[in-house]
Amino acid sequence: MGSSCYSPSPSSSHLLVTDFFSRGFKSSKLPFLQKRRFDRSQRASKICGYYGLRTPPYKLDALEPYMSLKTLEMHWGGHHRNYVEVLNKQLEKNDILYGFTMDELVKVTYNNGNPLPEFNNAAQVWNHDFFWESMQPGGGDMPKLGVLQQIEKDFGSFTNFREKFVEAALTLFGSGWVWLVLKKEERRLAVIKTSNGICPLVWDDIPIISLDMWEHAYYLDYKNDKGKYVNVFMNHLVSWNAAMARMARAEAFVNLGEPKIPIA
């Protein structure tokens, strides 16, 4: 996410290195590494504190007629871009918050429930990146294979899940988001709603799908008709392909059943 340039090293080797240093091992053979402040969150070989605006994985008019070009231009080009710019401006003045990936920045600025001023912008940048990727032209329909199985296991049926998701969207007070997440501890899928810019990452849950219920997301196309917007999203926009990819990745962190090679 963002433009912090690094190539993620597999977490296992990362743990080894930090263990290495936490044991106070000092070696003359590694003067280069000793000089660097090494904590788990700094993975970038080049310190990048600024983030870029990611484009959605489709042209801005590709979601017509369900989400208009005008909305995409306004929502992505106006709101999302604004969050990125304000975030970068805030980070300019901040010495401590650099070198993070977007995920990490969100968690760090959440500050365990006492969010720093950067949190709102960081979280909203992340949320919108995730949202664009949660949709696709020709989306909707039903998930297949692993995702469908897990949904049926955790909700009883896809219809039941859909009902819960729509209900959550329609009973959200104020601005916020609706999510399908994989809960790490409970090892099951759940539908949750969050206010303003809060993102389930801060609770260590793994988001699978999201829907923006801020008014700016649907007002130009649907005015106050939230119900229509949500149904259109479920029927024509939601990207179950993206959900499958995310589930597959999530299974590396959450053991959903018998250990097996995940087949998306």
Binding site: M74, G78, G174, N196, E215, N224
Partner: protein
């Protein structure tokens, strides 16, 4: 414009009426209805478009009223049955929808067409109080606009009066929380809706422009009336 009463009393009879004469109850459940505007939807142009005014009044405010009435009915049921968990569960819906009704009812009175004095600064005691507390009208407008623009998500920005200390305050509330949730002694004089539905169709994401232009149709006469009632 014809004025419909804000409240209309409807009587609800319990179902037990038919079965047990000893349990006859006549409940007076107030239901709320949409207050009329004292101006046409298009009368606030170009500050606020007629399209927004119509949607805002007929759809959004009406929805809050409908859901508020529904929640109150459910609450009454739950109270009668002694169903405490339902009573508690309904609180958020009542706060949200009831707050929405309260806030919007004030909002319509806070606005008036230019031809009716919209935008004219307050004279009399309120004008004097503003100058005392904030230095000048411009400073107050600046402060309210800045706080309104900075509000994250949905909410309202208020000019209120603390009726105990007789001081003017500028404050914000989230979602549909009425001003009293910020202080039991606070009386709202002026509220500006900064939910996106209040300006999006016209100003898109440029909330500061909305806040700059709305001052042209603010009804200071109403605010003065409320102020003078509390501070005679």
């Amino acid at each position: 414009m014809a004025f419909r009463p804000l409240l209309s009393r409807t009587l609800g009879l319990t179902q037990t009426l038919t079965h047990s004469h000893t349990q006859t109850q006549l409940r007076g459940l107030q239901t709320f209805s949409l207050p009329d505007l004292s101006y046409d939807y298009g009368a606030l142009e170009p500050a606020i478009s007629g399209e927004i005014m119509q949607l805002h009044h007929q759809k959004h405010h009406q929805a809050y009223i409908t859901n508020y009435n529904k929640a109150l009915e459910q609450l009454e049921d739950a109270v009668a049955k002694g169903d405490s968990s339902s009573v508690v569960k309904l609180q958020s819906a009542i706060k949200f929808n009831g707050g929405g009704h309260i806030n919007h009812s004030i909002f319509w009175k806070n606005l008036t067409p230019v031809s009716e004095g919209g935008g004219e600064p307050p004279h009399g005691s309120l004008g004097w109080a503003i100058d005392t507390h904030f230095g000048s009208m411009e400073a107050l407008v600046q402060k309210i606009s800045a706080e309104g623009a900075a509000l994250q998500g949905s909410g309202w920005v208020w000019l209120g009066l603390d009726k105990e200390s007789k001081k003017l305050v500028v404050d914000t509330t989230a979602n549909q929380d009425p001003l009293v949730t910020k202080g039991a002694n606070l009386v709202p004089l002026l509220g500006i809706d900064v939910w996106e539905h209040a300006y999006y169709l016209q100003y898109k994401n440029v909330r500061p422009d909305y806040l700059k232009n709305i001052w042209k149709v603010i009804n200071w006469k109403y605010a003065s009336q409320v102020y003078e009632k509390e501070c005679p």
